[in-house]
């Protein structure tokens, strides 16, 4: 890929625990262009850790190494914490699963959005407020003035996530990392939130990394998909080709899902192979 937005080469994360060291992410490599990339995996696959490592927000006990971790022209591995602070929020934003944990419970949501803007842009409070209101409208919140004044605990799931999106996207970052942004939402609300996210990503031309355990969701929403297992990328393919995935793990994952359109007496149970933990098939060199 020429001029990727993000370039990751041989990312490894080790966790040094009390009794043993866990190799959580093993040699993950990929390029990201102006696209929506889905990273799919089960718990323990390393997908969330990969997302955090890109923003250098890994836990203190984590040892992160990579041959390259480049964001545009910036070398993230070499960047200092001070540089990262400027990058985070302004250039790379993260949307998490539960807005309750990401919003300050003591501050009005509108003010938090305005503040997110003022951190990276020197504007007056009034201007920031206008920007925040405009942002609330762009995430399809019907009554921005009213919602501006409410506190996080008064906000329900879907609206909370849209507020989160507003807050994270107001500085117009070039890269958005969304870690299970809709997992805590109801099925019908999920679609609305994803539509909002899609619209904003299209409009600003940002790149999106969508981390999820839900294959169907990722197939529907993303352009390209990375399938992770035990810290490795097993497969890297266009989303529309997921149905024709090659790797036995991906196939087994697809087969074990109960499907409305394909009734079965028994669901296929995955037989895990040791080879899946060692040799990655597919993925980029």
């Amino acid at each position: 890929m020429t001029d990727p937005v993000l370039s990751v080469r041989n990312l490894n994360i080790h966790f040094h625990g009390a009794t043993r060291t866990t190799h959580a992410v093993r040699g993950v490599s990929f390029d990201l262009g102006h696209e929506k990339l889905g990273i799919v995996g089960e718990s323990g696959s390393g997908k969330s850790q990969t997302g955090r490592a890109i923003m250098k927000l890994s836990a203190p006990s984590a040892r992160v190494t990579a041959d390259a971790l480049r964001f545009g022209a910036t070398d993230l591995m070499a960047a200092s914490e001070k540089q990262m602070r400027t990058i985070r929020g302004r250039d790379i934003a993260m949307i998490l699963q539960d807005p309750k944990f990401s919003l300050n419970p003591l501050m009005k949501v509108g003010k938090q959005i305005a503040e997110a803007y003022r951190i990276h842009h020197r504007v007056s409070a009034a201007e920031a407020r206008q920007k925040a209101l405009a942002m609330l409208e762009s995430v399809h919140i019907r009554n921005p003035e009213r919602v501006y004044e409410i506190l996080p605990h008064e906000v329900s799931g879907g609206m909370g996530q849209r507020i989160m999106i507003a807050m994270m996207l107001i500085p117009e970052p070039k890269l958005i990392i969304a870690d299970e942004p809709t997992s805590a939402l109801d099925v019908t609300v999920r679609r609305q939130v994803l539509a909002v996210l899609d619209e904003l990503v299209e409009r600003t031309g940002a790149s999106l990394i969508f981390i999820s355990h839900d294959l169907n969701l990722v197939a529907d929403f993303c352009d390209r998909v990375l399938v992770m297992y035990a810290g490795r990328v097993l497969e890297d393919l266009p989303a529309r080709d997921l149905g024709r995935a090659q790797h036995p793990y991906t196939r087994a994952l697809l087969d074990s899902l109960p499907r409305l359109d394909d009734p079965r007496a028994e669901l296929a149970v995955m037989q895990r192979q040791d080879s899946w933990r060692t040799a990655p098939i597919g993925g980029q060199a």
């Binding site: 089960e42 697809l254 899902l257 109960p258 409305l260 009734p263 149970v269």
Partner: protein
């Protein structure tokens, strides 16, 4: 012996008082036949879990009637009621006591209900859920999510219930583990002749596991459909249609 194992008549459950009262369940009614698997599906806050907990006996404050085997269930349940209906909870990480080993978790209901033959029952139930006897001395934090859920199922089965109440039993599990647990539950139902009342927000799971499905919204049961009809989209309510549309699989082979 009647064909209907569990019946709910005009079940209404309210929380809070006066101005802040919330009607969690509003006039719900359903009948579950012996050996049937019945699904309750809806979004968060629709009342499905509230109904389940009331049926189980965890919430004695409800209006309306709940009948088990044709006999009305009293507000304060007795041992025989608890023996007849057991529950499997959603979160495998929260449904087992962190400081008790499996042996203790399984022995307790046996002892409490005075069933005797503890060791044999424990070994048998562990075998039945696909766990080896070495699991007797494990603690929950030494087991994976799927293993914990199997232990939770074992705990429910060890008292030989007639009916299992399943509260989103696989929604906290990985997809691959979910398949194992769903298969296990299906097999157990067949082999032990159990009836299931299953609550879920995942319509694909419910269509797979249940014979009939009731869709709930804002405390009301909107409609009851057979699993075949759900799959074919033969539903009357718009809400159900929306639900199905939002859950449609995107991956085509």
């Amino acid at each position: 012996m009647s064909d209907i194992i569990l019946e709910a008549r005009d079940l209404t459950i309210e929380f809070g008082e006066g101005a802040t009262a919330v009607t969690a369940v509003d006039g719900a009614a359903f009948k579950i036949r012996r050996g049937e698997s019945f699904g309750l599906i809806g979004e968060s806050g629709c009342g499905k879990s509230t109904i389940l907990r009331a049926v189980a006996g965890l919430n004695p404050e409800y209006d309306g009637d709940l009948l088990f085997d044709g006999v009305e269930l009293p507000d304060t349940r007795r041992r025989e009621h608890y023996r007849a209906m057991q529950m499997v909870f959603q979160d495998p990480y929260g449904s087992l006591h962190p400081r008790k080993m499996v042996q203790s978790v399984l022995a307790e209901p046996v002892r409490r209900m005075g069933l005797g033959d503890e060791q044999r029952r424990i070994d048998e139930v562990l075998r039945n859920v696909g766990l080896g006897p070495e699991f007797r001395f494990r603690y929950p934090h030494e087991c994976s999510g799927g293993q914990r859920q199997r232990i939770a199922i074992a705990r429910a089965l060890i008292v030989e219930p007639k009916m299992l109440l399943l509260d989103e039993p696989t929604s906290a599990l990985d997809v691959s583990v979910q398949a194992e647990i769903l298969n296990l539950l299906a097999r157990l139902r067949r082999e032990l002749g159990l009836s299931y009342l299953m609550v879920s927000h995942d319509i694909a799971v419910v269509a797979h596991m249940c014979d009939r499905v009731a869709i709930m919204r804002h405390g009301r049961i909107l409609e009851e459909v057979g699993a075949q009809d759900v799959r074919a989209g033969r539903v009357s309510e718009d809400y159900t249609r929306d639900f199905l549309a939002a859950s449609a699989p995107a991956i085509t082979a």
